[in-house]
């Protein structure tokens, strides 16, 4: 029984971190229909920035993430205004290609600045765990999970209670309708890219002390975050959170009771299952595309 409980706790905590990393992609994919493949590179960039703040100035990665949001938001705005938005005007389908190019360039720049060696922050709590009987709750993982809950809650509140949030939701549910009531796509796109990229600071912070990372670690994480987005449904922040937790749980329980090697296949199997049963994702917003008709 304790083994199952341990697997569930691990699954939930890890899944929360997956969701945290996928939040930005949920927004760009869900609202703008842009598969921003550079999101993985931004995540690694955030991890390196948080790690540098920790290694050079002793700033805890959780706190450092607040600082890192600022340059990351600026980067998101620049990438959107100078690259994505221009390409989007030519052909929306090219955005996936151009964000892939941005990811490659970002990886090269990260490698030039920080080198190829693995990095990982080790704040004082990273090797401590709360003991609940025979079950361990790693402090680092718990803090990352709480950060994920906080970020999801703030984003959800922002989407529900602010004009910008309403505009983003409107653009996601009915792009043409939103345009008719004065929601300007370029402005909304800029905001979404800024927010989406800024949120990678939190995912990067969690990554920086939970796992080792190298400039090319984006390959691993972009696949996982895409899985979360597809599972959760486009544009749904809470859906992404639930999907992340579901994914983490499935991986953890599979590792514990079937095989670690099968755990690697869990995201793919879950996506296949969801696409067969509920192609729009588990928690997707009900999109309306009929307003222009």
């Amino acid at each position: 029984m304790s083994e199952l409980l341990q697997a569930v706790i691990f699954g939930v905590l890890t899944g929360g971190v997956y969701a945290l990393m996928a939040t930005g992609l949920t927004l760009t994919f869900g609202v703008m229909k842009i598969v921003n493949l550079a999101q993985g590179a931004f995540l690694i960039l955030s991890a390196y920035l948080c790690w540098t703040l920790w290694a050079q100035l002793g700033i805890d990665p959780l706190l450092g993430s607040l600082i890192v949001t600022v340059p990351l938001a600026a980067l998101g705005i620049l990438i959107y205004r100078f690259i994505v938005e221009r390409v989007q005007r030519v052909d929306h389908r090219l955005t996936i290609v151009v964000t892939f190019a941005v990811a490659l360039v970002a990886e090269a720049v990260i490698a030039l600045v920080w080198g190829p060696n693995p990095a990982a922050a080790t704040p004082p709590y990273f090797n401590e765990a709360f003991q609940l009987g025979s079950v361990s709750v790693p402090r680092a993982q718990l803090y990352a999970f709480l950060l994920a809950v906080a970020v999801t809650a703030v984003l959800q509140l922002g989407l529900k209670r602010t004009w910008l949030g309403h505009a983003i939701t409107a653009a996601a549910e009915n792009p043409e309708g939103a345009r008719l009531i004065g929601v300007e796509p370029k402005k909304i796109g800029t905001w979404i890219f800024a927010i989406a990229t800024a949120t990678t600071a939190f995912g990067g912070a969690a990554l920086s002390f939970l796992y080792q990372f190298t400039p090319d670690s984006q390959d691993t994480w972009i696949g996982l975050t895409l899985s979360v987005v597809i599972l959760g449904g486009l544009g749904s922040v809470t859906g992404a959170f639930a999907a992340g937790v579901l994914l983490g749980l499935a991986e953890s329980v599979t590792s514990a009771y079937i095989s670690v090697r099968w755990a690697e296949a869990v995201p793919a199997l879950l996506i296949l299952l969801v696409l067969l049963i509920r192609p729009q994702g588990l928690f997707t917003l009900a999109a309306r595309q009929d307003a222009a008709a």
């Binding site: 304790s2 083994e3 341990q6 697997a7 691990f10 890890t14 190829p116 060696n117 693995p118 990095a119 990982a120 080790t122 990273f126 090797n127 401590e128 765990a129 025979s134 361990s136 790693p138 680092a140 993982q141 939970l210 796992y211 080792q212 190298t214 670690s217 691993t220 991986e251 953890s252 590792s255 514990a256 670690v260 090697r261 755990a263 690697e264």
Partner: protein, 419 residues
Amino acid sequence: MNRQRSPRQFRLPVLAVGAALILTAVSACGSASSSGTSHAGSASSGPITIGMSLPMTGPVADVSKSGYQGYELWASQVNAAGGLLGRRVKLDMLDDGFDPNQTAADYTRLISQDHVNLLLGTFSSLLNAPASAIAARQGMLYVEPSGGAATLFTRGFTDLFFAQPGTTTSLPDQFVAWIASLPASERPPTAAYVTQDDPSASPAVAVFRTRLQALGVKTVYYQVYDPSTTNFDSIAAAIAHTQPQMIIQGAVADDGAQFVRSLQKLNYNPKILFQTNAPTDEAYPSAIGGAASANGVFTAQSWSATATYPGNQGFVQAYTKMFGAPPTEDAANSYTAGQVLQAAVKAVGSLDQSALAKWLHDNTVSTIVGPLKWDKAGDPEGSLLLSQWQHGTLQIVAPASAATTKAVLLTKPAWDSSS
């Protein structure tokens, strides 16, 4: 040590291997009648050209660079001392980008087009397997600095020589001997085994398990994971659940530190921890929270900068002077391969490949990793050094002839203890 990394991409299609093998076969037919001396007689004056292919680009470029520097230092020292057989030594190095197909093509080119006089090996079992096969078909001596997977020595090749003290099967020797030397009351009663699915790691862990079980150490967990695994939390949780006194990990590279971090997150501290490869990496201590956290971790090494074997200190000083940084294990292994080749050529007095191989089978070569002697398959008859992180330094604890300390930490201190 016996490193093996998975290729991330193959630049050339499988056809390249086919083409390489066809080229080899064709050229082998052309020179079959004189394979034993075909490379010895070419250009008896002028430099002796030594060919090798290395992954100078790609995923292991960082460690491969130091490997090539080991070759460079050896060649420069040979030339400074008058060369081999009175001729200068010239290295002909090709880059394979860590692609086994390209490695096969490179060695074919080195032999058939560049007409090199001698060969030296490349990096990892993955690349040395096809390279040594090409060399064997051409009757060329092949001394490899890396590639210790046991499968490389079961193919019937007689011109292959591994320039390290031991392979994957002998990797556990010193550690198991140390466990056996402990009083029964101090031996760990239980062990967990976890290994990457890798030709240099998983066979070694299987040997560990068999031998330790024979000593009465009960196996409570055994897991093989894919090379792509980056999250070890589930494995660590399962291990912690079984509460083993000892953990043996067949790590290859970063997976060693990743696994330790997962144990640390759970604050699970085994009494004894042995990992292959990873603890010798420069970045290992910092990745797991500093040298204090590494305290007590065991590993096996083919070479140590502090070992007192003849020429080792001179190698460390010369390398540091030439390249501005202390040598790595990969640099030392390449240098050793050069030493082996040099000893054979000097003793035989010619570049006759068969005579060189015969001499190596019959003799022991003194190197910076200790005296090397091989069996019929080119498998060295020694064993690797057993090392342990002790207060910020990787100390050799066995064999006694190479030990840098007599002290062994019987119980690994807690992760966060200060050194």
